[in-house]
């Protein structure tokens, strides 16, 4: 093992005669981050040799030395800057050396990108745009669509907000480009059955029903004999039908087709059989778009019971096709949204869709009386113009209040609501009601792709799968499948994902970004407690006979390692034996040991150094990925080594990099306090605090307080 110590251009006084025991060679430098410094490291280490680098904070050092995968020791910000004596340098390096000596191999793995191709699920705007971008970079792209036609939800619409532009403006040029591109293979009436493999080497099984009718002349005989009538969001059609997008032939709606075969008898080009194909792809993109919440669930609004209560899509289609001619319409925003009994979240686009329907009505017939009920009208950003137009130019009436019930009264509907601004209940009679419902995620597909959703949109996954520090997985979500969003935002998100996919497919190999947890199956199967399965914030741990970690999903927080009842689960780079050895060799009798989260509190300690704040010299800081990594074993070890105080500090309650690691840590530390009290240690000497990156003063105050307080 080699230890490289940098004095940062003479800023750090390095103690003389440093000796860290057998087989440890110490080399010093004045500017290790220079090209010469890096050459010094490269030339003096053997392949896979473990190294320790002592110098500036790892926040800076990681910019230069990541390729060597070293253990960092911060002797500048945590020793030299706060003016601590150089003996502390010896202790900190000694701890790191002993940690590295005993730890298992810390190198992170990687994946080969074997298949230079992508699978895109969903043929709406998001899927079409992703396909267009990925294919134009030269990669084979498979676009599968569940329905018989491309276009998704917007193909069913009359117009798009905010301007009320017909959907064709966006959809037709997009479809044309996708169809023209030879790199894109379009599979309609197709669904993902299952996937296997890993990033760069996925195998997807696709089930396709029927076959696209070749040379269809749209004669419509098939439609005439089809006995199945379907209500397609407000428009009646047969189970075999034509939609003016792509392909340019009749297509079969297999969700409703009974398979009677009458159409195939009048046209021999029609095929009803089912086929299965396997595709080898490097990356998978989920772009399944909007799925409407079932309005029947909102019992008090009577959808499904009263014929003139419509969903937004039904109303738009019926109204645009002149199937209904109401003289008065009430548009109910937030129908089932922001509601603990239905959808607790705000679907973001519904207010705007409601405004669009209001404008559609007024554009068509200004005589129609239009009312909009709302809780809060969220016409964010530029959409305020749409709200203004609808209010001022179109003369739509707005009522603040969430309707409590809708009842039928003769051939009219009666809406009972409070008008909050009047502070009174009012009753509105109307010809028809439009329920602006929210969207729901596609749970089934999310689960198939191993994306944790917890019954909500995969917001955490979407954020992390594009972020720089998460491990590569090659499965992305974009458009309204990730969270409800306007068409323009879906398209730009599709481009974001496409760039990431293209970058990925351009590589021969991708490396893991963070070390991951590793489970020893032999030890684990003896206990089989499965605690880690439930607590992983990234959904990376799964049961497959044994309990395993999906390295592409693991973010490396160590919450599972801390929770493991048997020691089978070890976070690489922060395993139990390594950390215990580090503690034993770092601390002395009467020290204060601080476990600081690398995302927040550790940086606060660096900042205390830059600000030259005074805090006790006997403070020893150990950098951890998350406060959730600290467990009772580590705390007891530190106390047994004679420390007089232990501080565990991390991000503020809702700001954990790993969603909830800090909250788990808090629970765990509170329980451990009771344990240490039984062992005769003052519980106040064990503290857990939230200290953000900027809060150097809070950190220093706490450390000073701990130094004065505890002496037992």
């Amino acid at each position: 093992m080699k230890v490289f110590i940098c004095d940062c251009n003479g800023e750090i006084d390095i103690p003389q005669n440093l000796d860290f025991g057998d087989g440890v060679v110490v080399k010093t430098s004045s500017k290790l981050c220079s090209e010469e410094g890096k050459e010094l490291i490269a030339n003096s280490i053997k392949k896979n040799e473990k190294i320790v680098i002592a110098g500036c904070t790892p926040r800076i050092a990681e910019k230069f030395f990541a390729e060597f995968n070293p253990e960092y020791v911060n002797i500048r910000e945590h020793v030299a800057y706060p003016g601590h004596a150089d003996g502390k340098i010896r202790d900190l390096i000694k701890g790191a050396v002993e940690k590295v000596r005993i730890s298992d191999e810390t190198s992170t793995g990687g994946f080969e990108i074997k298949n230079k191709s992508a699978l895109i699920i969903g043929g709406g705007v998001a899927g079409l745009e992703t396909a267009r971008q990925v294919a134009s970079a030269g990669f084979k792209t498979y676009l599968i669509e569940k329905e018989p036609f491309l276009g998704g939800t917007i193909a069913k619409l009359d117009r798009l907000y905010p301007e009320g532009m017909p959907n064709s403006h966006t959809l037709y040029p997009l479809i044309n480009e996708v169809v023209r591109d030879k790199n894109i293979e379009i599979l309609v009436n197709s669904e993902l059955k299952e996937i296997s493999g890993e990033i760069g080497n996925y195998r997807a099984t696709i089930r396709t029903r029927g076959k696209v009718i070749e040379d269809c002349d749209l004669c419509g005989k098939c439609k005439e004999v089809c006995p199945v009538t379907v209500d397609d969001d407000g428009i009646e059609r047969k189970a075999i039908y034509y939609r003016a997008t792509h392909p340019d032939s009749y297509g079969i709606d297999f969700e409703n087709c009974t398979g009677c075969g009458k159409c195939a008898k009048v046209c021999d080009k029609i095929k009803l059989d089912e086929t299965e194909i396997e595709l080898d792809v490097g990356s998978i993109i989920l772009a399944t778009g909007m799925k409407e919440y079932d309005a029947r669930m909102i019992k008090e609004y009577g959808y499904g019971k009263y014929k003139n209560v419509f969903t937004k899509l039904e109303f738009e289609r019926k109204f645009a096709n002149r199937l209904i001619n109401p003289k008065k319409v009430v548009i109910v925003l937030c129908a089932g949204s922001r509601d603990e009994n239905h959808l607790p979240y705000c679907s973001r686009v519904c207010c705007l869709l409601g405004l669009k329907e209001a404008k559609l009505i007024k554009d068509t017939d200004p005589e129609v009386d239009v009312y909009v009920t709302y809780i809060d009208l969220r016409s964010y950003g530029d959409f305020e113009n749409l709200y203004t137009t609808v209010r001022e130019t179109c003369g739509v009436n707005f009522i603040q209040g969430r309707p409590s019930e809708i009842v039928e009264k003769g051939d009219k509907l009666l809406i009972r609501t409070e008008d909050i601004l009047l502070g009174k209940t009012i009753e509105l009679d109307t010809d028809c009601v439009v329920l602006i419902t929210g969207s729901v995620p596609d749970y089934e597909l999310l689960e198939k792709l191993g994306i944790p959703s917890d019954g909500e949109f995969p917001v955490d996954y979407v954020n992390s799968s594009l972020s720089v520090d998460s491990n590569p997985r090659g499965i992305f979500v974009c458009g309204a499948a990730a969270f409800p969003k306007p068409v323009a935002e879906s398209i730009s998100e599709a481009r974001d994902v496409a760039v990431t996919v293209i970058n990925l497919l351009n590589k021969e190999r991708v490396d893991m970004k963070t070390p991951v947890a590793d489970i020893n199956g032999d030890i684990c199967s003896e206990v089989g407690c499965k605690i880690c399965l439930d607590i992983c914030p990234s959904g990376a741990i799964y049961s497959d006979g044994g309990i395993k970690v999906d390295p592409s999903m693991c973010m490396g927080c160590g919450v599972c390692t801390a929770a493991c009842a048997s020691g089978a689960n070890q976070l690489i780079g922060y395993d139990d034996k390594g950390l215990l050895a580090q503690i034993e060799n770092t601390v002395k009798e009467g020290d204060i040991l601080a476990f600081l989260c690398k995302w927040s509190s550790y940086n606060a300690a660096d900042k205390a150094g830059y600000e030259k704040l005074k805090y006790p010299e006997n403070t020893k800081i150990i950098r951890i990925p998350c406060t959730g990594r600290v467990d009772a074993q580590i705390i007891l070890k530190a106390f047994s080594c004679g420390v007089k105080g232990i501080l565990i500090a991390g991000c503020p309650p809702d700001g954990c990099h790993y969603v909830s690691g800090n909250l788990r840590a808090k629970k765990r530390i509170l329980a451990t306090k009771e344990l240490v009290e039984q062992l005769g240690i003052a519980p106040d000497s064990l503290r857990i605090e939230w200290i953000g990156t900027e809060e150097s003063k809070k950190l220093v105050d706490i450390l000073n307080e701990m130094d004065k307080g505890g002496n037992q």
Binding site: E300, D339, E340, G401, I420
Partner: protein
């Protein structure tokens, strides 16, 4: 402690802070339909440390609670406000006859012969008075 603090300190009052004043409670309230009673305004005024009005008008049908999108226990909160008010200011005069009815018959509203005749027509059993409530009241500190 003021009213809001007392409510929040009570296990049944925790949901006070859930309310985002959407008006769904008032919109469906049968009492609000025929009067100026407004359950949303009661909750809102308590939140702003103002004296709520009309707290005795709630008919305890619980429609508000059933429909509330934020799981605010509107009816329970109004009952809690009533209890706190009685503890502080004593029972209002107009409640006393109702309590007397409850003691003697087991119901706050007197059920007369007319009501039972109507029930008979609908094949429902007659409502009989009970002195069980009286026993309970006598055995507790309430007089």
């Amino acid at each position: 402690m003021n009213l809001k603090e007392k409510i929040l300190a009570d296990p049944e009052g925790k949901s006070l802070v859930n309310c985002f004043s959407c008006g769904m409670c008032t919109g469906g309230c049968p009492v609000a339909r025929i009067s100026d009673y407004n359950p949303r305004r009661i909750i809102h005024k308590v939140m702003l440390n103002m004296e709520p009005e009309d707290i005795w008008l709630c008919a305890n049908c619980y429609t508000c609670e059933e429909r509330c999108p934020t799981k605010t226990n509107v009816a329970d909160l109004i009952n809690l406000i009533r209890r706190i008010t009685i503890k502080k200011d004593g029972m209002p005069e107009f409640i006393k006859p109702l309590v007397e009815n409850l003691k003697t018959t087991g119901y706050t509203v007197q059920i007369g012969e007319l009501e039972n005749k109507r029930r008979e027509r609908m094949n429902l059993p007659a409502v009989e008075t009970t002195d069980e409530i009286k026993k309970i009241i006598q055995k507790t500190t309430l007089k």
